[in-house]
Subunit: 377 residues, 2 copies
Amino acid sequence: MAAKKTETESKKKTIKHAPGADLESRLADLGQDVWHTIEGGDSPLIEIPVRGLSNVSWDKKTNTLKLGEKLLKRNFLNTAHSRKFMQTMLVAAYCYKHLLKPNLHGSQRDLYYALKRTLANSDENTFDDQRESDPCIVDLEVTLETLRERLHVSAAPKGRVVGPATIEDRGDTIRWDKMGSGGWAIPSNVEDIRFKDVSADYLLAVEKDAAFERLNEDKFWEKQNCILLTAGGQFSRGARRIIQRISREHKLPVYVLTDADGYGWYIYSVIKFGSMALAHASTQIATPEAQFIGVTLTDVEKHGLQKYTIKAEAEDLKRTKEIMQYPWFQRAEWQKELKKALETQRKAEIEALSSKGLQYITKTYLPQKIADKDFLP
Amino acid sequence: MAAKKTETESKKKTIKHAPGADLESRLADLGQDVWHTIEGGDSPLIEIPVRGLSNVSWDKKTNTLKLGEKLLKRNFLNTAHSRKFMQTMLVAAYCYKHLLKPNLHGSQRDLYYALKRTLANSDENTFDDQRESDPCIVDLEVTLETLRERLHVSAAPKGRVVGPATIEDRGDTIRWDKMGSGGWAIPSNVEDIRFKDVSADYLLAVEKDAAFERLNEDKFWEKQNCILLTAGGQFSRGARRIIQRISREHKLPVYVLTDADGYGWYIYSVIKFGSMALAHASTQIATPEAQFIGVTLTDVEKHGLQKYTIKAEAEDLKRTKEIMQYPWFQRAEWQKELKKALETQRKAEIEALSSKGLQYITKTYLPQKIADKDFLP
């Protein structure tokens, strides 16, 4: 989202909290600052990093998307800012008082309903719509350099995981290798889970539920000693955060398996480099060490799957061209893959491998790719 | 889907397998019948119950939707049927030989890719598109009076569950009360799980992930001794089947919690009465004993949540009027609720309860409703 023109942009970072301080203190500081400014007779002000394309870039060093230095100032006594200022303060106070203090978690929608009311002696509502409260949560997330999960505001949970690992969570010891045909359902917030024992050799993140179930039925994770995870489509924040934690805390290689199409490549891009919308959170949610295991269009040729590919539509080709331009997709291996997609005008699904037999993916395709270290960067 | 005009409808049921026979034998019988007919010099024929509105009705006795007696005949030597006949046979053979015999499970898409090929000496593909193979799976499901899960063709898995129950699945013993902040991820196929110990007093199925996480964080299921389940939106086949199994095998009351709107009522309708598209499977997937716990528009008034309701749009009102007409929604309590929706032109979300405090749902709203047995039928 581009910064509203009514809010002044600046480049000087003046966030006052110590980045190491705990979140409760930082929220308290935010409130104290505003309070002291008012007492001093001035108009209180919050400075919020600008989100949106104009302030997002790819950081070559960390190999993730990141936010730039641009700040916007939200000034209480500027009539164009007052309402948003009030809303930001309400959200901050709620996180402090009703979520962090009592150690409860809520969704963005809970927070909207909890804060919606008509201000005394007026017709003015604190919030008319959830579209007014949601951005305040992101503003706080960015300003406090944290994840909204740490502010105890949950995103929708999605995803399941199995494999040789044991975690502790809310007093329960949970073995991911004892989940039968299901899996451990990944919650929205994985900040508080503790990895007790991770004996896996790598983590395999798969785009599709069906591929997850195939690999789970074949006990692929047992044979290959890996953690197997899916979010069934685009990966939720919780799933991406758990991948990052496993990568960082246990130094496990991460391989991503998706369809050979724009949607699949984008899923990979988001897991590895972060997303534009969450560029401020990349350091906490992206896994730059992730590698792409497939399916690639080279695999399609190698395994004779040409007849099982699908015609790329105009929309697919457009998407492919866009991805080709991303600065973080400039590696020769990716350019070759994307060029092949444009030249052949074909895309391929993971399930194309089923034309060789249901267990081809488990017994041949993946073990070969892993043995050959045949990954895209 | 309405039956194609090219396929003849009949009312005489001539399915030859014994309904009690196991599925492998019934598939084998289907093949044998076709084979014997060909050997006898006749054109082979399969009779498939007609799906679609014209053959769906509400069965007052079982209180579920069911398919009528209409059959369509698919005749190999009728040129308008041959292609579909061939496709149905391919799918049946695949289920028999590649899924049931080796005890493997696949998705509809796996099956499509596995069966797609060009017929020898022709330009004819077995299937041009997955839209050709998917209906064959349903045709078989209906004809064999089974669930496609028992043919080992999986639907997309969705949903999570926690609570005082222990299951056995693929050799693992899984305690649903030891899942931390996550849950047990419900697989696509729950036919083979075995309930080892179910000490819960009832099952609460909630529409929304956020409500599930709130109730899970508050250990509602421990305090109330219940199983807590969500599918995050419309309930998957696996989630509906597991609810039915718990209701039938353990005689647990089932309560459904959704938003007070057309989408929520429809979720309840599908869990309880079955759906039109799966009317043939109601006896195996619907839970006619389920009751609606809320949120109702009467609750909204009782708990003073009027300010937290949302204006119903034209689409909502249309949906409400449709549901009012359903023969299975004619109970006075429902007519009163739906009338209130039309009169007030408002709808309400579960999260409206958060305006009374995050834990209001856990500590006040639900315990009260359950103590008062305040349900809609």
